[in-house]
């Protein structure tokens, strides 16, 4: 389609309210939350790319399949964002986070941040950027946009942000997500949305240009601090769009599974919870979810194109934290993982076959943490969710 008409995206986007979500981690989940919230707020059908098909053809396919004029909520691969922004002319652009991922393809996370900044410079005033102020790479890119809502969405993995994106000077991190470059003075912008409280009491608080302060108890079905941050980000888009927060939040609470992630499946006496972690930042979030249960963990690692061909990133994950649990290494690169676990002092079994690995972890509740194509293979062999589609691009 795009070979015939390179402007297809622009035609397909015309006459719609388009909202885009990009970043290294949380794209697919945030897109689903925003699509549900938008549907609840507007009472209309929403066009979205729920399978993580986030490259140009996937975006065009999603737009072509949806009704004319319906609002569109689309996740966009972080490396492709600059290419599609002029065509899609979004009303809102959500920028979540940037960290090392698929380095064989994206080479350097700073290059991605630079491309984002150039894309933000070209936005006109009718597009609002909703950006994670806690991530220096994201904040530096979004500061070039004419209109920004700043969310304190947190930064669990800081090792890609310790050098200032503007001057490479040292960035120091303070309490509660605050940061400042000691070289050029670049600092976290003041927040319009942030999180407060712990456990069931966690609130998203709207302030700054969003008015308020107004507090929204989140009470999500999805686990983890990262998803609370994703929901707060979506709430910022909702409030900035002039919609009521409560119905949007009620719709977000209904989401308990995202393209197979967080889904539960049973096999050979195990009840598995499926989690996606495809880079060190993703693993920081997963440790927040599985950290204290003490139960068995199956880790599935592939290194296909959508995963990145170089699994060296495994050495940036503090697997030492899994010591003492029953751990099974699986997936096409289970031997790379096994060596990482070996040096981390984590006793483990190796089962290249995914189902054999689940059986080796039996019985009982098992957390299965897989990277992108390994999760898709798992969903396929378990007969759960959308695993039969061949993944392209690597949804976040």
């Amino acid at each position: 389609m795009l070979a015939v008409d390179p402007r297809a995206l622009a035609h397909l986007a015309q006459g719609r309210q388009v909202m885009l979500v990009s970043g290294t981690n949380g794209k697919t989940t945030t897109t689903k939350l925003l699509a549900r919230a938008t549907a609840a707020a507007t009472g209309t059908e929403v066009v979205t790319n729920l399978q993580g098909a986030n490259l140009t053809t996937g975006l065009a396919a999603a737009l072509a399949a949806g009704p004319l004029g319906a609002p569109a909520v689309l996740e966009v691969d972080e490396a492709w964002l600059g290419h599609v922004l002029p065509e899609l002319r979004p009303a809102a652009l959500v920028l979540l986070n940037l960290s090392r991922d698929q380095l064989d393809r994206n080479n350097e996370v700073r290059h991605v941040a630079q491309r984002w900044r150039r894309a933000c410079e070209k936005l006109d005033g009718r597009a609002v950027v909703v950006a994670n102020a806690d991530d220096p790479l994201v904040a530096w890119a979004a500061l070039a946009a004419p209109s920004v809502v700043w969310v304190g969405a947190g930064l669990g993995w800081k090792n890609d942000a310790t050098g200032c994106p503007a001057c490479a000077g040292p960035v120091s991190f303070g309490e509660g997500g605050d940061w400042k470059c000691d070289g050029c003075g670049l600092a976290r912008p003041s927040l319009d949305m942030w999180l407060e409280g712990e456990g069931a009491e966690v609130c998203a608080v709207a302030g700054g240009r969003l008015g308020g302060p107004a507090r929204y108890v989140l009470d999500l079905a999805l686990p983890g601090r990262c998803n609370e941050a994703n929901a707060a980000t979506v709430l910022a888009v909702v409030l900035e769009s002039g919609w009521a927060g409560a119905p949007a939040l009620a719709a977000m609470r209904q989401v308990d599974e995202v393209a197979g992630r967080y889904a539960r499946a049973e096999h050979a006496g195990t009840r598995a919870r499926l989690l996606l972690a495809k880079n060190p930042a993703g693993w920081a979030e997963v440790f927040d979810m599985v950290g204290t249960s003490g139960g068995p963990v199956v880790v599935a690692i592939n290194a296909r194109t959508a995963d990145g061909h170089d699994p060296s990133w495994l050495w940036d994950v503090p697997f030492e934290g899994l010591a003492g649990r029953r751990v099974v290494a699986t997936g096409e690169r289970c031997l790379d993982l096994s060596v990482r676990l070996h040096y981390a002092g984590v006793d483990h079994a190796v089962e290249r076959d995914l189902l054999a690995a689940l059986a080796a972890a039996a019985p009982g509740e098992v957390d299965v943490v897989a990277n992108y194509t390994a999760l898709h293979q798992l969903l396929a062999v378990l007969g759960t969710g959308p695993g039969r589609r061949r993944p392209r691009g690597g949804g976040g």
Partner: protein, 273 residues
């Protein structure tokens, strides 16, 4: 005996998991009964010259230049090397330790001069993919086996006369065009291999450790050896598949340019709209 391992600027040169090399060295020492302390020195810290082993990782362009400037100013690595320290420098680290390298602005920066090599930039595509290196006879004699890793760089590194490479490239690009890989001078070992290289190649880890502690007791290396065998078996075909993918992309781009050229001259293919 206690051995100190310094991780140099992991915040500037830590993009590709190369900090894992320090973990591997430390564990292989501890498992043999040595005490080992790993300390990280960030861009804001003074790097000491008193450690036994220094691990310098790969990184991105701008931080690479900053790291080179800081190490040139402090001369901490120069003093450490004079005292006989072992240095393992990966990718950007290899370039920084050479005589000179070309920075992100296209300008040539002075390196630390600890390795006899100079690095310029590759015109066109980066060298990305699995790499296999057959060790130079000098290292094979010390027990180094074929090395496997993952390369991801845009540098062309030329060795000065008399500088010993890690070895000959049998799969991949390495320093320049698929002939030599890495540069070694004394106890300073520079290589393009990520993986991390010591996780993938236990015989290299032990070669470096013998320079620090002398003879080594054997370890149960069944896990690292299984990975080493698997990478030697599958790495070559993965690299070939990666190259084929790039060639396909180039053909596709070429076809697109041809289409654009036709549109530009008003000559349209029948049926295209």
């Amino acid at each position: 005996m206690s051995v100190s391992v310094a991780l140099v600027y992991p915040d500037l040169l830590g993009t590709y998991g190369d900090g894992g090399n320090a973990t591997v060295l430390a564990q292989r020492l501890r498992w043999r009964g040595y005490e080992c302390e790993v300390a990280s020195f960030g861009a804001g810290d003074a790097v000491p010259s008193s450690c036994d082993i220094y691990v310098v990782g790969g990184g991105e362009d701008l931080p690479q230049s900053l790291a080179a400037r800081k190490l040139a100013e402090s001369r901490a690595l120069h003093r450490a090397v004079d005292k006989g320290a072992v240095v393992l420098a990966i990718c950007a680290g290899l370039q920084v330790l050479g005589e000179s390298f070309v920075g992100p602005d296209g300008r040539t920066s002075a390196g630390l001069g600890l390795l006899g090599c100079t690095t310029t930039r590759v015109p066109g595509a980066r060298a990305v993919g699995e790499i296999v290196v057959e060790p130079d006879p000098a290292w094979a004699a010390l027990g180094l086996e074929s090395c496997t890793g993952f390369e991801n760089h845009g540098g062309v590194t030329r060795l000065a006369e008399g500088t010993v490479p890690v070895g000959k490239v049998s799969v991949g690009v390495g320093n320049a065009d698929g002939t030599l890989e890495g540069a070694v001078r004394g106890r300073v070992w520079g290589t393009y291999l990520h993986g991390p290289v010591l996780a993938r190649n236990p015989t290299l880890a032990d070669l470096l450790l013998t320079w620090v502690v002398g003879g080594l007791a054997p370890l149960d290396d069944s896990r690292p050896e299984a990975l080493h065998r698997e990478r030697l078996r599958n790495g070559p075909s993965e690299r070939a598949a990666g190259v084929a993918q790039v060639q396909r992309a180039v053909r596709t781009a070429g076809a697109a340019l041809e289409r654009l050229a036709r549109v530009g001259t008003g000559r349209r293919r029948p049926g295209a709209s």
